[in-house]
C-alpha cells in the first residue's frame, strides 16, 4: 500500500506547482500530470473501467484548457500576497481538517468496506443480466436511470457551449 501514498504525495506536489506557477500553459500541463497520477491510482485500486475513462477524459480536458490559453497574451499575476487572504485560508484549512479528522475516524478502516448492496450486485449480475463486467451491468441495467440523467447533463452542457459561443461568431461575422 505504500505506492498509493507515494503517488498521492506526487499528485499533491504537482497540484501545488499547478497552483503557484505564473505561466498558464505550464500550469495546465501540471494539471495533466495530476490527472495521470489519478489514472495510476485507479489502476492500483483495482478499477480498470475508471482508469480508461479518466485517461481519455484527462487528455480531452487538457486540450480544451490549452485552447483557453493559446493566443492570449496576458500579464502575469502581479498580485502581492495579501496577508488577510492567506491568514483566512489557513484558518479555514485548520477548521476543515479538524472536523474532517473527527469524521474520518468513524469510517470503516481502509480495506474493509461494508458492501451491503455490492454483494447483491456481484452475486446476481450474471444470472439477471448476462453481462460479465459488473460495472457495466450496474450502470446500464440495475441503475439505468442514473445513466439517463447523465446523458441529459452532457446534452445540456453541449447546448450551453454552443449557445454561449454562437453569439460571438455572429457578432464577429457582422463586424467583418
Amino acid at each position: 500500500m505504500i505506492e498509493l501514498h507515494v503517488i498521492l504525495v506526487l499528485m499533491i506536489a504537482a497540484s501545488i506547482v499547478a497552483m503557484e506557477i505564473e505561466d498558464l500553459l505550464s500550469s495546465v500541463i501540471a494539471l495533466g500530470a495530476v490527472g495521470f497520477g489519478l489514472t495510476l491510482e485507479f489502476l492500483l485500486l483495482k478499477a480498470p473501467d475508471l482508469a480508461i475513462t479518466q485517461l481519455v477524459v484527462e487528455i480531452l480536458s487538457v486540450i480544451i484548457l490549452i485552447r483557453a490559453t493559446v493566443g492570449v497574451k496576458l500579464p502575469a499575476e502581479r498580485i502581492k500576497a495579501r496577508i488577510g487572504y492567506f491568514a483566512f485560508a489557513v484558518v479555514f484549512a485548520g477548521v476543515f481538517l479538524f472536523f474532517a479528522h473527527k469524521a474520518v475516524v468513524q469510517l470503516p478502516p481502509f480495506g474493509e468496506p461494508i458492501m451491503k448492496i455490492g454483494r447483491e450486485y456481484i452475486a446476481s449480475a450474471m444470472e439477471r443480466t448476462g453481462a460479465v463486467n459488473i460495472v457495466s451491468a450496474i450502470i446500464l441495467d440495475f441503475r439505468g436511470y442514473d445513466t439517463l440523467g447523465e446523458a441529459s447533463i452532457l446534452f445540456t452542457s453541449v447546448i450551453g457551449v454552443l449557445a454561449v459561443l454562437r453569439a460571438a461568431g455572429k457578432k464577429k461575422g457582422k463586424a467583418q
Binding site: 500500500m1 498509493l4 501514498h5 498521492l8 504525495v9 499528485m11 499533491i12 497540484s15 499547478a18 497552483m19 498558464l24 500550469s27 495546465v28 494539471l31 489519478l38 491510482e41 485500486l45 483495482k46 478499477a47 480498470p48 473501467d49 475508471l50 475513462t53 479518466q54 477524459v57 480536458s61 480544451i64 483557453a68 492570449v72 496576458l74 500579464p75 499575476e77 498580485i79 487572504y85 485560508a89 484549512a93 476543515f96 481538517l97 474532517a100 479528522h101 474520518v104 481502509f110 480495506g111 468496506p113 458492501m115 455490492g118 450486485y121 456481484i122 450474471m126 460479465v132 459488473i134 450502470i139 442514473d146 447523465e150 447533463i153 452542457s157 450551453g160 457551449v161 454561449v164 459561443l165
Partner: protein, 112 residues
C-alpha cells in the same frame, strides 16, 4: 486513514486555489483539482484488501471482489466533470472576448 487525510489535503489545495487566485483560468484549474480529490475519495472508500477487479472470470470463481457500486457512480461523475469544464472554458473565453483580461479585479471595475 492517512490516505483519507492526504486526499482531503488535495481537496483543500483545490478549494484554496479556487478562492484565492485572481486569474480566471487558475480558478478553473482549482475546480478540476477539487473534483479529482472527490472522485479519489469515493474509490478509496470502496477498496477491499486483497480484492480483485469487478470482472468475472471464465475459468475460476472469484471470491474477493472490490465494491463495484462506487465505481459505477464515479464513472458517471468523471464524464460530467468534463462537460462542466468545457462550459466554464466557453464562458471564460466570452469574458475575455468582451473585457480583454482574465483578472477578476479588472473585470469588476470595467462595467459594460
Amino acid at each position: 486513514m492517512s490516505l483519507y487525510l492526504l486526499c482531503l489535503i488535495l481537496f483543500l489545495i483545490g478549494i484554496y486555489c479556487l478562492l484565492v487566485k485572481k486569474n480566471l483560468v487558475k480558478k478553473i484549474i482549482g475546480f478540476g483539482i477539487a473534483e479529482y480529490a472527490v472522485n479519489l475519495f469515493f474509490i478509496l472508500l470502496g477498496y477491499r484488501a486483497g480484492g480483485e477487479a469487478p470482472i468475472l472470470d471464465k475459468h475460476e470463481a472469484l471470491t474477493n471482489i472490490v465494491d463495484p457500486l462506487p465505481q459505477a457512480l464515479i464513472l458517471t461523475s468523471i464524464v460530467i466533470g468534463l462537460g462542466v469544464t468545457a462550459l466554464m472554458v466557453a464562458i471564460v473565453l466570452r469574458i475575455y472576448d468582451k473585457y480583454r483580461t482574465f483578472d477578476i479585479n479588472e473585470i469588476k471595475k470595467l462595467k459594460g
